[in-house]
Amino acid sequence: MMFADCASIESDLGPFVDGELRGPKVLAILQHVERCPNCAAEVDAMRQLGEALRTAAPADPDAPAWDGLASTVISRTRAEADESWYSVLRRGGEDWHWVIVGAGSFAATVVSTTVLSAILAFGPRPERGDSLSALIRNSEMPVDAVPAYFDHEAMYLMFDDIGPMASRGETQLARRVVDESEESLTELEVVDELLARVAPKGRPVEFERMGAKERRRTEALLERMNQLRFSRLVPISATVGTLQVRFSASTSVRGL
């Protein structure tokens, strides 16, 4: 049999001292320990430690502390057999308190999640145009929308054929508020003013919340922008009315 090295038997020295090894391993360690003074010292140290622990173990007291233990336990057992259901449940709860706490936490989580989901799904939608949910909703661009980017700001436009413009009184009015001087505005200037109206200080404002005059002015600017942007690019023969303008701008939400 080969002479085992120290590293290979190091972890087996404890089980060897404890008599937990069998067969060839015992022989290998015996042979090693006979030749290796370091491992022999290790084995002796473990035995001395065990001896010290056993020596330090307290002796049985003269008057054993457990005298009367059996009668006390039997009495308590007998008393428990006669106790009320409330006491039984209460004692059971002591043993299962962590399980109860865990189950309660889980139930609370499920209930609160369900309630929150129901509120989000069926609850009233926020009416403020500058609320966080409105911002999120406004940022969803419909499939038929036309994206537009001006001066690093993004917006999208929606067009629809709504019939003769004569039926759109407000649009007719809007045409009138574009005076001659605005005919000379450049596209960038129109966009700047439009941005200042629909998203003052970075917060989008819905058309419905604008005053009548403000809204007409905004629609006029939008129409002017349409003229500048799209008349050159898309020749449209049909009458086109703007139904909706959504604006997406970089908006910072301050921390709480």
Partner: protein, 203 residues
């Protein structure tokens, strides 16, 4: 080496040695036989009290623990299926109860330092105290015992339990693993760490 390495300090009883007697005792206790219950307590009370004392280091705590352990034994006796020995099953209850009490105890910032005189007051006299008359020897034993139990108190509870069950109660690795509900390999590593720590403190 003067001593054979194959000889254990203590030999633990195995289930095969006592299974039928223990099983009969369990059946009688479960049927409400108070004589059998008394016998179950008297057969195991010393082991339970001593282990409680060694794990908690306080005689009153150990006595309270003993009562709780036997009450729990009788409450849960119907769950005992004989998959381990009765003794190992009781050991497991002792360790679990001691672990609960030990956490409670430590939360209240009990001092873990055991003075020599406190040691004798708390633990009683040493096993060999009355056997040797030499005062020097007795004093040395007391000092050593104080250091040993102070070092034991400083060990993590899992390691302390493993080393006490192995070295003082003489349980095999398998019995210790069964009592603590862990793998034998875990016991092996806990014992190795406990021995390393204790030797570093005591040498």
């Amino acid at each position: 080496m003067a001593e054979s390495p194959l000889v254990k300090p203590f030999r633990a009883l195995t289930w095969s040695d006592t299974s039928s007697a223990d099983w009969a005792l369990v059946q009688q206790c479960a049927a409400g036989d108070e004589v059998a219950c008394t016998r179950l307590v008297t057969d195991n009370q010393r082991m339970v009290y001593q282990l409680g004392l060694q794990l908690l280091g306080d005689p009153q705590e150990a006595l309270d623990l003993s009562q709780e352990v036997f009450l729990r034994v009788f409450r849960t006796l119907h769950q005992f299926r004989g998959q381990s020995t009765l003794r190992t099953w009781i050991y497991r209850i002792v360790v679990n109860q001691a672990s609960n009490r030990q956490r409670w105890w430590r939360r209240r910032r009990r001092s873990l330092q055991v003075a020599i005189d406190d040691y004798v007051t708390g633990h009683g006299e040493l096993a060999e105290w009355r056997s040797f008359a030499s005062p020097d020897r007795l004093l040395q034993q007391r000092e050593t015992a104080g250091r040993v139990w102070s070092a034991l108190d400083d060990l993590p509870f899992d390691q302390r339990t493993a080393i006490v069950l192995r070295e003082i109660h003489g349980l095999s690795y398998e019995e210790i693993a069964d009592s603590l509900g862990v793998a034998v390999g875990t016991i092996k590593s806990r014992l190795a760490r406990a021995r390393t720590t204790l030797r570093a403190v005591l040498v």
